[in-house]
């Protein structure tokens, strides 16, 4: 079943009078439960594509369906709701909310979802334990290492059980051991909960573990390879 589908997706940036075509006609279908990666040289359009899929940005033309729903027609508010309930984000720079503790960062999404206090607390604590941060729940982001912060970000992205997690170079700032552990963790979640993971990466380790590699070049898909299990 297609959880993400794009049709002739085009994204152009207008800089002064120059038009930069970041994506030039992307047709892509991603099924539920995939663990896939967008690869390609710098500037090829990976981040742009992830942003469009996550509803953070709107395409210049073309259409996107998330879980069967066309998102081009959604209002800002509906897009917010879509991101809240269906999509989790992990960024290269972790991007935690600095004034909230690890636990509160994880709780934040569920607060927006109005999940009852008790359930929210329990789930956050257990997700944090799952990503290996037991005992560090009350630390602020500044008091955590990069790897720990990225774990919080992962916990935050998966705690509300989204259908898709979009991760833009999640391991770029981590050493290979930490990155590897984090990938294991995500792979595990992917297998157990059927969460779809879409990465963008330059990291060979990510490419190795991904089940599917979509290669971009100059805003176009030049290769789409599903690895046999």
């Amino acid at each position: 079943m297609a959880i993400v589908r794009t049709e002739n997706l085009i994204k152009e940036y207008h800089q002064q009078s120059i038009v930069v075509a970041a994506l030039r006609g992307i047709d892509l279908t991603i099924n539920k439960g995939e663990f896939m990666a967008l690869v390609g040289p710098s500037g090829s359009g990976k981040t742009t594509l992830l942003n469009l899929i996550g509803g953070l940005d709107t395409p210049s033309s073309g259409r996107i369906w998330i879980a069967g729903q066309e998102i081009g027609s959604l209002s800002k508010r509906k897009l917010s709701a879509l991101r809240l309930w269906k999509v989790g984000f992990i960024f290269q720079e972790y991007n935690l909310i600095p004034v909230l503790s690890a636990l509160e960062n994880v709780e934040y999404v569920m607060l927006l979802q109005k999940i009852p206090d008790k359930e929210r607390r329990e789930r956050s604590v257990s997700v944090l334990a799952e990503v290996g941060l037991k005992g560090l729940e009350h630390r602020r982001p500044q008091e955590l290492s990069g790897g720990q912060q990225q774990r919080v970000a992962v916990a935050r992205a998966i705690v509300s059980k989204p259908s898709i997690v979009l991760a833009d170079e999640p391991t770029a700032n981590l050493d290979s051991a930490t990155g590897g552990a984090l990938l294991d963790l995500m792979r595990d979640l992917n297998e157990r909960h059927q969460v779809t993971f879409i990465f963008s990466t330059h990291d060979a380790m990510v490419m190795k573990r991904a089940k599917r590699l979509v290669q971009l070049k100059d805003g176009q898909i030049v290769n789409d390879k599903i690895k046999p299990d």
């Binding site: 917010s80 999509v87 960024f91 509160e104 607060l111 927006l112 109005k114 935050r156």
Partner: protein
């Protein structure tokens, strides 16, 4: 690449940050220029009008006349000497005068006026009242008994051009003198004090009236430079010798000088407040702008930039901004001030109040003074550069790594809100984030709430001060003179004359006392009169009171400082104010003569013995009234048992309007009316209004600056957190929650600021309400104000304060909406890409 170029580009790179800083500097400077211009304009106008309409720049008297003003101190009109003075350096023109007081009566009433006998040919080259002639004409060389008077006075005395007026006075030899004059012209200077109290007659007619043949009391002079009046006076004095006094306008108008000093003091206070608030606003913005770029500076340091260069860069940037702010602020400030300097600011609605400020007309024309502009420009430039020093120095000392990592040291570990509350809703989490964001940058928050607090505290104090000021005026006026309500014949208030009376006052008294709000009532007679000692005559208001009833209504009996309060109603005892007694140089028990007019216009005099002296502390009261027994007044004025008014004391001051309208209802058709103290003293009510108006102007400026300060702080803190908002949006936070969060922050900041400001204000007021604010240095200014003494006790009146406080609070919140909605409208992608 030179530092200058780099600084310049940095400013352009972050346009919103730069424009915020710039706007803070610009608005602050423009406000300073305008406020100062307004105050200078007001003072300048007062001096110019007062000196050129009536007084002149210098006056020459026979030695001693200025202190005594007695006619025997006149001097011969020496034409040769006059010519010599005219030829002296700096003297532009000279004119001889005879000046004294008199009673002016028109159809049927008399009132005290200041008479100026002038040479119709010479006078216009010294003073400019001739320019203000509105009807008829100015005096001419061949005029005999002609008179020119102010339109206000004419209206009160019911005189028109062509009518005949009578001047009654005491001549040089002490005899009573009177003469008829034909009204040839009316002037309207726009200054009520002049239009209501001066009359001009030809010099020759004045010499005749006062028996001063060949004599004058003064020469008045115009010189080429008013500022140099003191020097010119000294030079002339040296030349003329000990037989003469030469006085400059500052000595001639000491009350005005004091009033100007008083205004200047007030303006320095207001300007100081504005400077502080502007300084905090600008400092805050610059502080944040530098802090925000810690990382950037870290990279520069890492690349080998020296600490000194970083500091230079920061200073250079704020200097460039400061210079631009200076230009813009000057342009705006000067444009606005210049516009009003030509158009004037119309305050005619408050003419009665302006009357208390001699020399002021209905419009104020702000004055641009380059030295002021220069001063505030320098101040503004310094406050836009100096605050950058601290963060620049701090940043330059950082290890590059620390700077790049965003200074972990800054992490404030907060106990507050750390223990995760049992219950939390979406709203609560935004409150929590808001609170923590405020703590995240404690300096910024402290400065922001500090500015609010300071503005509010200063405002509270000034407000309390004026409230204390007004309360004193009202209470003293009520206690010592007008009581809460008076019943009087219609028309009496325009003309204190025996022609207006209440017949059968006893019936009225009984009727009044049945009103539940009435505590006491007392019948009175009040007419305009003149009091004469052997050497001098002064106008005043003669009041006949019932010595038993009156103390229950007004409390003059409590401020007798010599002798006693009146006993019995039919003695020849008289009670006078301290000031008048000093002026007439009287001693207890001495005889004086009071002259007034009967209802039919004929003059009567009575002789009285000084029995007691009262002192209220206010000069107007202590000079303007004389008290005798009611019977005595009735017989002097042939009024039988009639009285002028019934003065009433109520249970409470605030009942005045209700009680007056109650009484009016019961008296309808009688031709009598009840007037509340507000009706009787419209000056007071208007003064309160005008002061309130001034306060609204000050308040508006303070609020505008506070609002800009709060907005700046929040815009900066929003800019700083652009990325964070991007993340929140990416995670599905609705934009309206982000608006809320930013608004919550401003609510907290505003709340802290207001709590602190109120606390500071209340403490300040409590201190001074205990010890009072001593205005004795400005007694000239305060004496013009009825009821005011030299010490003012500030007073916090909650009813007057909650609104401005609330408005300030709301201003802060409203100011937050701009940055908040800016944050909410961010596209998540742009926000996330924000460096």
């Amino acid at each position: 690449m030179s530092l200058l170029k780099l600084a310049y580009r940095n400013l352009w790179r972050n346009k919103s940050r730069s424009s915020i800083t710039l706007s803070a500097i610009t608005v602050g400077l423009a406000a300073l220029i305008f406020v100062w211009g307004f105050i200078d304009g007001m003072n300048e106008q007062t001096i110019e009008n007062s000196t050129t309409y009536i007084t002149g720049h210098l006056k020459i008297h026979k030695a001693g006349f200025h202190d005594d003003k007695a006619l025997y101190l006149s001097m011969p009109h020496d034409l040769a000497l006059q010519q010599r003075i005219n030829d002296a350096p700096h003297v532009v023109a000279i004119a001889p005068r005879v000046e004294d007081k008199a009673l002016l009566s028109g159809a049927d009433e008399a009132r005290g006026v200041k008479v100026i006998g002038i040479d119709p040919v010479l006078e216009p080259s010294v003073t400019t009242i001739f320019k203000a002639i509105k009807q008829g004409r100015y005096l001419q060389a061949d005029d005999g008994n002609s008179i020119v008077l102010g339109d206000k006075l004419a209206a009160k005395a019911d005189l028109k051009v062509g009518d005949e007026a009578v001047l009654v006075t005491q001549a040089r030899d002490g005899s009573l003198a009177a003469d008829r004059f034909q009204v040839v012209g009316l002037f309207d200077s726009g200054i009520d004090m002049i239009d209501a109290s001066y009359v001009f007659i030809p010099l020759s007619a004045a010499q005749e009236l006062y028996s001063l043949w060949g004599q004058i009391t003064a020469w008045t002079l115009r010189i080429d430079n008013r500022q140099m009046a003191q020097d010119s006076a000294r030079q002339l004095k040296n030349e003329l010798g000990a037989g003469f006094d030469v006085l400059d306008w500052k000595q001639l108008l000491p009350e005005m000088v004091q009033m100007i000093r008083f205004h200047e003091l007030m303006s320095y206070i207001v300007i100081f407040i504005i400077i502080v608030i502007v300084a905090v606003g600008v400092a805050n913005t610059i502080l944040m702008a530098v802090k925000e770029r810690t990382r950037e500076f870290g990279i520069m340091l890492a690349l080998g930039t020296s600490q000194l260069q970083v500091i230079q860069l920061v200073l250079l940037e704020s200097f460039i901004l400061g210079i631009f702010g200076l230009l813009l602020g000057n342009v705006f400030g000067l444009l606005v001030t210049n516009y009003f300097a030509n158009a004037g600011i119309d305050l005619t609605e408050f003419t009665l109040a302006m009357e208390t400020m001699p020399g002021l007309t209905g419009s104020v024309y702000p004055l641009i003074r380059l030295d002021r502009v220069f001063f505030v420009s320098i101040v503004t430039l310094s406050i836009s550069v100096l605050p950058a020093l601290y963060p620049a120095w701090q940043v330059s000392r950082l290890q590059p790594v620390e700077a790049i990592q965003g200074v972990a040291k800054n992490a404030v570990h907060m106990a507050w809100g750390q223990t995760t509350s049992a219950r939390s809703s979406t709203r609560l989490v935004f409150w929590r984030i808001a609170f923590r964001n405020i703590w995240r940058n404690p300096w910024r928050s402290a400065l922001t709430s500090g500015a609010t607090a300071f503005g509010l505290a200063a405002f509270l104090f000034l407000y309390a001060f004026t409230d204390g000021f007004f309360e004193q005026m009202i209470d003293n006026s009520i206690d010592f003179s007008i009581a809460h309500v008076q019943i009087e014949p219609k028309g009496y208030r325009d003309d204190y004359s025996a022609a207006y009376y209440l017949s059968q006052p006893d019936n009225l008294l009984t009727q009044v006392q049945q009103n539940p709000g009435v505590l006491a009532a007392s019948p009175r007679i009040q007419v305009e009169a003149m009091i004469s000692s052997p050497t001098k005559t002064e106008p005043l208001i003669l009041t006949g009171v019932d010595s038993d009833l009156e103390p229950h209504v007004t409390r003059l009996d409590a401020v007798i400082i010599e002798g006693k309060y009146l006993k019995g109603n039919d003695t020849t005892d008289i009670l006078l104010g301290r000031k008048l007694v000093d002026e007439l140089d009287l001693r207890m028990g001495e005889k004086i003569v009071v002259t007034t007019q009967l209802a039919d216009g004929s003059l009567v005099s009575g002789a009285y013995r000084l029995f007691g002296i009262y002192q209220t502390g206010n000069e107007t009261f202590d000079r303007m009234f004389a008290y005798i027994g009611l019977r005595q007044a009735q017989s002097l004025l042939s009024m039988q048992d009639r009285v002028s008014t019934i003065a009433i004391r109520l249970q409470e001051r605030d009942l005045s309007k209700i009680t007056a309208s109650d009484l009016n209802e019961s008296m309808s058709g009688t031709g009598y009316e009840a007037k509340s103290w507000q009706d009787i003293m419209p000056v007071l009510v208007q003064m309160i209004d005008v002061t309130r108006l001034m306060f609204f102007v000050v308040l508006a400026i303070v609020f505008a600056i506070v609002a800009i300060g709060v907005t700046n702080t929040l815009i900066m803190s929003v800019l700083e957190r652009t990325r964070e908002f991007g993340v929140m949006l990416a995670m599905g936070t609705e934009p309206r929650f982000i608006v809320r969060m930013v608004v919550y922050e401003s609510i907290v900041l505003g709340f802290i600021g207001i709590a602190l400001g109120t606390l500071m204000g209340v403490l300040l007021v409590s201190y001074y309400s205990e010890y009072g604010v001593d205005l004795s240095d400005y007694s000239g200014a305060t004496s013009a104000i009825p009821g005011l003494t030299n010490v003012v006790y500030p007073m916090l009146i909650f009813a007057n304060l909650w609104l401005p406080t609330l408005v300030l609070f709301i201003t802060g919140i409203v100011a937050a909406f701009y940055p908040a909605s800016r944050a909410a409208q961010l596209s998540p992608v742009t926000a996330l890409r924000h460096a």
